[in-house]
């Protein structure tokens, strides 16, 4: 009979917690970035596009290392912002959230953008001539009509977050019960003698969560189609 250790349970919970937090944290930024890239013409738009999509093409380890350089004690943000405020992110679960958010962000933005691009610009113009200011128009027209993209993006990012490994291990380490998520725990089991069974058990948990998430997405999509 399989029995998970408390470290295994905390790895499962931590995985869920990190993926959910990273997704929720990214939603407003993802929406704002997608809006800027879809509707606004400004200098540096291409640069923003490249920066947002870079984590998609870079090896996650590189992203993790860059985050470490940025957020570490001697990094720009670490030294200028975090230290004066007495915040230490590196090797905490919060660092795992940041790593997951950065790596999954391009997926979220892409999904929201795809949704936004299908919104007829005349609807936004109509709202403006009806007296809605820019933000009013964004919240009452763009946001509700981007809902499908927002949901798809969130689910994609959450799923990606569950599997995040490379960036997390660099900025958050692999501390059982503190920063160890499912992939990190599997990695540790696989590297240790006689860890195969437990690795497989955690793999099954991973698969189960993914299946539930995908089924939830399907159900939500079907429900939205029915509401239409």
């Amino acid at each position: 009979m399989l029995s998970f250790t408390s470290a295994d349970y905390s790895a499962i919970l931590l995985s869920l917690k990190v993926a959910v937090t990273a997704t929720l944290l990214s939603l407003p930024f993802g929406f704002a970035t997608a809006y800027l890239m879809t509707y606004r013409k400004f200098r540096g738009r291409i640069l923003l596009d490249v920066c947002v999509n870079l984590p998609l093409t870079l090896p996650p380890v590189v992203v993790g290392y860059l985050l470490l350089l940025l957020l570490g004690r001697n990094g720009w943000i670490g030294k200028m912002v975090l230290q004066p405020l007495g915040i230490n992110l590196i090797f905490t679960w919060k660092a795992a959230v940041i790593a997951t958010a950065v790596v999954g962000f391009p997926l979220m933005v892409r999904s929201i953008r795809t949704g936004m691009e299908t919104i007829d610009e005349r609807l936004i113009q109509a709202s403006r001539t009806l007296g809605a200011g820019l933000f009013d128009s964004i919240f009452t027209v763009v946001l509700p009509l981007s809902m499908r993209g927002l949901i798809a993006g969130s689910i994609l990012m959450f799923a990606r977050g569950l599997g995040e490994f490379g960036a997390t291990i660099i900025v958050a380490g692999n501390i059982p019960g503190v920063t160890q998520t499912i992939p990190l725990a599997i990695y540790e089991y696989v590297s240790s003698p006689r860890g195969d069974v437990m690795a497989m058990a955690l793999c099954l948990v991973s698969i189960a969560i993914s299946v539930v998430v995908l089924l939830f997405h399907e159900w939500l999509s079907a429900r939205m189609v029915r509401t239409d």
């Binding site: 609807l123 109509a126 001539t129 009806l130 007296g131 509700p144 009509l145």
Partner: protein, 351 residues
């Protein structure tokens, strides 16, 4: 409504340079596709920004490049009806109708939901979603939504061109009635002269990004009749039909007109081409045409290679056309009497 505009805007190779001042309630902007009509009104509504110039509406400056003044679209109180309804798909009919109303300052809220719903005949649609409405219903809701924002000017950018003819002439009475009942001045944009004649009193024609002339749709229709194979289209609003021997008889002034393609609707709009009116100097004892009207010539005017004749028949007006030779033979001069023969099949019901 008093509108003063002097605007310049370039889009790639297209250049809009529009200067005009106009005072009226039912103004048309007429021109072919690509002439700059939509660009002009989107600048007036504040949806796009001119390169330079001035927009003054009822004494209030909405845009002035010299003073760097540019009132935002949502503050201009100019609402729009577009070619397609563009209803908010996530809102109900009522939600759509009230979108602008809720954003309108209390002091401007003179037009209220109930009265608009009644004029547009959409009482039974209020709680429905907008996706399953018919084309005509959608456009009526779009008109209601624009009107309920209590605008000081309504801009209608080709609101009928996406509708088929039947639907178009069903929507026109709603459009006209709504603007008349609620006294909303409007700019009506179209490339259809017929729509212009029904909807507007004054007309600005636009060509290649410039205002070509200020005229009326009626004058333009007369000026163009010579060059058109269909001639001039007389529009007759006929009411109170009665069936007689396979025809419909309609009261028209102090006489009755016989129409083949009539209907039992209490009132209908018919078109009659000037080329379908045959003139006789004297009463032709018998004719196959079911309508023979005694008329007085009110005006005779040049219409290209033809001669246009404005006739007064029993208190109503008709425009006919003849070739120059016929005008001479008939002695068509102001005040002379003629008989106009019109076949019952020549009347075409609109809508």
């Amino acid at each position: 409504m008093e509108l003063r505009v002097g605007l310049r805007k370039s889009y790639g190779t297209f250049f809009l340079d529009a200067d005009f001042a106009i005072n009226g309630e039912r103004i048309g902007i007429f021109g072919p596709s690509g002439s700059g009509k939509s660009t002009l009104v989107s600048l007036i509504a504040g949806l796009h920004h001119p390169d330079s110039g001035l927009i003054v509406l009822d004494g209030e400056t909405l845009f002035d490049s010299r003073q760097r003044l540019d009132v935002r679209a949502e503050r201009r109180r100019i609402s729009m009806v577009f070619q397609r309804p563009h209803l908010f798909p996530h809102l109900s009919v009522k939600g759509n109708l009230l979108y602008g109303y809720k954003r309108c300052a209390h002091r401007h809220r003179e037009i209220i939901l109930d009265s608009v719903v009644e004029v547009l005949g959409i009482e039974n649609l209020l709680d429905r979603g907008v996706k399953n409405l018919s084309g005509g219903e959608k456009q009526r809701v779009a008109i209601g939504r624009a009107v309920l924002s209590n605008p000081r000017l309504l801009v209608m950018d080709e609101p009928l061109s996406a509708l088929d003819d039947t639907l178009k002439f069903q929507i026109i009475p709603f459009l006209k009635n709504t603007c008349r009942v609620f006294e909303i001045p409007y700019l009506f944009i179209s490339h259809s002269l017929l729509e212009m004649r029904i909807m507007t009193d004054q007309l600005l024609t636009i060509a290649e990004g410039r205002i070509a002339e200020e005229t009326t749709a009626e004058a333009l229709a007369r000026a163009r009749m010579g060059g058109s194979p269909e001639g001039y289209t007389n529009l007759l609003r006929l009411a109170a039909p009665r069936r007689i021997d396979g025809f419909y008889g309609y009261r028209w002034g102090d006489q009755e007109l016989f129409v083949s393609a009539g209907s039992d609707e209490p009132e209908a709009l018919f078109e009659l081409s000037s080329t379908d009116i045959i003139l006789f100097k004297r009463h032709p004892e018998a004719t196959s045409a079911r309508n023979l009207l005694k008329c007085r010539v009110v005006d005779v005017f040049e219409a290209g290679s033809r001669v246009g004749v404005e006739l007064e028949c029993g208190g109503q007006r008709l425009i006919g056309q003849v070739v120059s030779q016929a005008a001479l033979e008939l002695h068509l001069v102001k005040g002379s009497e003629v008989y106009a023969a019109i076949k019952a099949a020549a009347f075409n019901k609109l809508g």
